[in-house]
């Protein structure tokens, strides 16, 4: 039984998502029965479609009503519901340490809480969940497993160290996808990496029959740019820029909105689900809305 009392996971958040279910939109591959629709037909209970009877088909699946009505032999086919193997890709780059809200310390805390809450939901419904954390020091991978202890291990892995360096999201995602096969991959990041190869990698994953979700974490300050006085802006992943916010605040907001819209559009083009998560909003409610959408 997954209880959700693990270290590093907000129990309140887990309570909020306890009743939620995470269903893959696409049919998935899996060896065990679960709640996700599978490409495998015949063994499940969910009706899929008809096919003309052929030699070798199980005569028990002949549809007697269609035979009586149309004098044609057709076989009912069923869809299996299978377990999914999900891998969470958690961005622990330095930019994730930015935070201006009161509910969470920074974007990293929001991303970590979201990832573990998602893992909690998936594990509760019998799926297997793995975790890859990527930061400036490289990537660490926990293979997908099910069971009660997996959430603890995932939490431990996420809490190893604070955000640092540039994540190199594209490269890390390539590794994760190679390991994940045709399962579900969930990217939790602010997506501010200069490397945009990760979007191409998602497209390839989708083409192979896998599914991907992208949760983009945004702090209100980087969206609204509420600065007035001239200042020296120090990039958390390097660089420095002295400027007068009043002069370019409007332009920056336009740029940021265009950036988010571009990410959303490219995710959709790559066949991935996308959600823009405001770190100042209640995470439990945000996650539930995403899962129910």
């Amino acid at each position: 039984m997954i209880r959700g009392r693990q270290q590093g996971v907000d129990p309140g958040l887990l309570d909020e998502v306890r009743q939620a279910t995470a269903s893959a939109r696409q049919v998935v591959h899996g060896a065990r029965l679960g709640i996700h629709r599978s490409r495998l037909r015949g063994g499940g209970s969910e009706f899929s479609d008809y096919k003309p009877y052929d030699v070798g088909d199980d005569p028990r699946h002949l549809d007697a009503k269609v035979l009586a009505r149309t004098d044609r032999y057709v076989v009912r086919r069923y869809e299996s519901e299978r377990q999914v193997s999900a891998t969470l890709l958690l961005d622990r780059s330095a930019s994730m340490s930015f935070g201006t809200t009161t509910d969470v310390a920074d974007k990293w805390e929001a991303a970590r809480s979201l990832a573990l809450a998602l893992a909690f939901v998936l594990l509760r419904q019998g799926d297997r969940v793995g975790l890859s954390v990527v930061d400036g020091a490289g990537a660490t991978h926990r293979p997908p497993r099910g069971g009660e202890r997996q959430l603890d291990e995932l939490a431990m892995a996420a809490l190893q160290r604070p955000p640092t360096g540039d994540a190199g999201l594209g490269e890390a995602l390539g590794e994760v996808l190679a390991r994940a096969g045709r399962g579900l991959v969930i990217v939790v990041s602010d997506l501010l990496s200069d490397d945009e190869q990760w979007l191409d990698a998602l497209g390839v994953h989708r083409a192979r029959g896998g599914e991907a979700w992208v949760l983009q974490i945004v702090d209100p300050a980087e969206r609204d740019f509420p600065y007035d006085e001239p200042a020296r802006f120090v990039g958390l992943e390097g660089g420095e820029l002295s400027l007068n916010p009043r002069e370019l605040a409007a332009q920056y907001r336009t740029e940021f909105a265009a950036f988010c819209e571009g990410v959303r559009k490219r995710c959709l083009d790559a066949g991935a689900r996308h959600a823009l998560i405001d770190s100042s909003e209640p995470l439990g409610r945000t996650l539930r809305q995403f899962l129910e959408s």
């Binding site: 602010d190 001239p230 958390l236 002295s242 370019l248 940021f256």
Partner: protein, 697 residues
Amino acid sequence: MGLELAAPALLGGLALLSLPIVAHLTGYRELAAIGFPSLRLLRASQLKVRRRRRVESWILLLLRLLAVAALVAAFARPSVTWTARALPGLDPTATTLILLDVSASMQADGSVLDRARDDAKSLVEGLDPGTLAAVLAFGGTSTLLEPGLTADRGPVLRALDEVEPGFGATDLDRALRHARQVLDDAGEGRANVFVLSDGTATTLPSVAVWPETVRVHYHDLRPGPLVNRSVSAVSVSSDKASGDLTIEAQVASSDARDDGVVPLKLSLGEGVEVVSDVGLVAGRGTANFTLPLPPEGTAAATLTVPPDGLPADDVRPLSLSGDDELPVLLVSGDGGSNPRDDEVYYLDRALQPGPGSPSRIRPRVVTAEEITQITGGAGDVVFLANVADPRPLAADLRAFVEAGGGLMLSVGSRVDPDLWNEALGGLLPALFTEVKTRGAGTFEKSPTGLSLPPMESDEFRVFRTGGASVFSRVRFGRLIGTEPRLQEDSAVLLRYSDGLPALLERQVGDGRVVLFTSSLDDDWTDLPLRSIYVSLVHQMARGLSGTLALDGAREVEVGGSLPLPLPLADGAEAWVLAPDGQEHPLEPGAAADDGRVSFRQTEQPGHHRLMWKRAGREPQLKALFSVLVPTAESALTAAGRDALLAAVPGLVFHGDGTETGLDAPGEVVRTASLVPGLLGLLVVMLLGEGLLLGRRA
């Protein structure tokens, strides 16, 4: 050489130098460092803002340079000079008076007036600064446009813009006399008078010698030959036997060779239209319309010719009056054995139309005993003469008058004052007191006559030309006195020579009651034997029927005047409702001796309605008359170059591409200052700079 200070102590003020130093030191500060997730978007934003700023900076620089250049150039007061085509005859240095024709014919062929207006503007604009100019708009009348002769171009040009086309005649004589007067009043020696017209004139200038220093230029702006058809005359007659109303309309063309067919349309309102084709012969033709059912009362009608070069006169208004008979019921209260003794014997004889009489009054005599009911309303008249007991008729009479009927009451020996007061108190202008005798009861010995009647009232207006003196010679042996206090809405129309009321009127509902306090036969008075009797009872009958106000001319040409009657009652108002809906009030103070006001606001052709309104009552249509475009104007009568040259020696005629006189088409050198434009540019530059800086802030 030594330096001395008158007030060395004030050098202590140098301590103030510390202020800018302190401000400088405190104003410098280290920029605060702010950690930010990614500088990628900030850099992109900064790059775009810088690019935009760079462009804006160049624009700002350009604006500032232009502003300085404009300011410097404005101080240099630049101007441009060019040669422009000018209306022939223009002398930029001579006082210029422009006579702008606004007659009806200037609306021909689109609008000649627009061209004349443009030419007038070019004349004004071509004058040198300081040269006086004025515009005089003329048609049937002549008006010097405000502000008169002036060197200020603006008001003159604005006045030209505001000139509206008129519908009147082209009185060139009046216009030139007016122009001469204006120049004489201003004491201007050297002047040019420009007549901008279409080559037509209804009144040619009389021969006059103009000073040699004044040159009259006549510009014929007529675009080319023009054919105008119009209704030149209308006559309406009625057939006594059949009752048909016949309208004879004469159609005239300005071209004597016009032999075309003109579909003439008669519109009677409410969608009733009759079309008759009029074949023109030598530019003239006649159409006859016969209406088997003449309109009731007076109706507005129009005669319309198809649209042509001069649309102003295509629709001719006319008012039609049906030849309605005016039924007058004479109720005799004293029949007698001898016809001459009948109470209404004289009345009936006076009102009966004789052979060939134009009178439309049709009297019918009944006795008080015969009649049981009185009906009718507006337009109907009842004479109640010496009826002993009016009570059976009282209710009917009341309803009859309130519905608009006219009631004439006369008394006699059978009238019991108290009984009449009881029965007809609601109708009598004043209650009766008692029968009074004069001269022992016989008029032969009575000294009592009538005072002079009010000639301004409708009923007595006819006596202005004769018969007024007869009133004083009429004698009365008996009469019925009335209470001094009149009933409401009542007035005394005529008094006896001793001051007692002889004729009183009262407005009741929509109708009117007139009371004669003596008899209408020869029992009490010799009035029936007097020459004024017939006219008086006719006027009374017509006055009570409401048809008197419609007497007289019903048509007037644009610019003409028409006498219109005013209501006599206190507090009553009168006005004329023009075709455009404008109301022209008629002021009682402007009335002539006959009580009529000369209406002169006849600028607009069409149907005009004379409206009366008594206090507390609805307005009433009292008369309908038409204002017409002058026939001579419709004929497009050419002024004629030779006639003009003969009438105004020295006149220069410009028209048809030829000029007769001294001047030839010329050019004028125009100069315009660029300073206002440069100052405007400066303002625009400063505004642009302000906008850019504001956007940055």
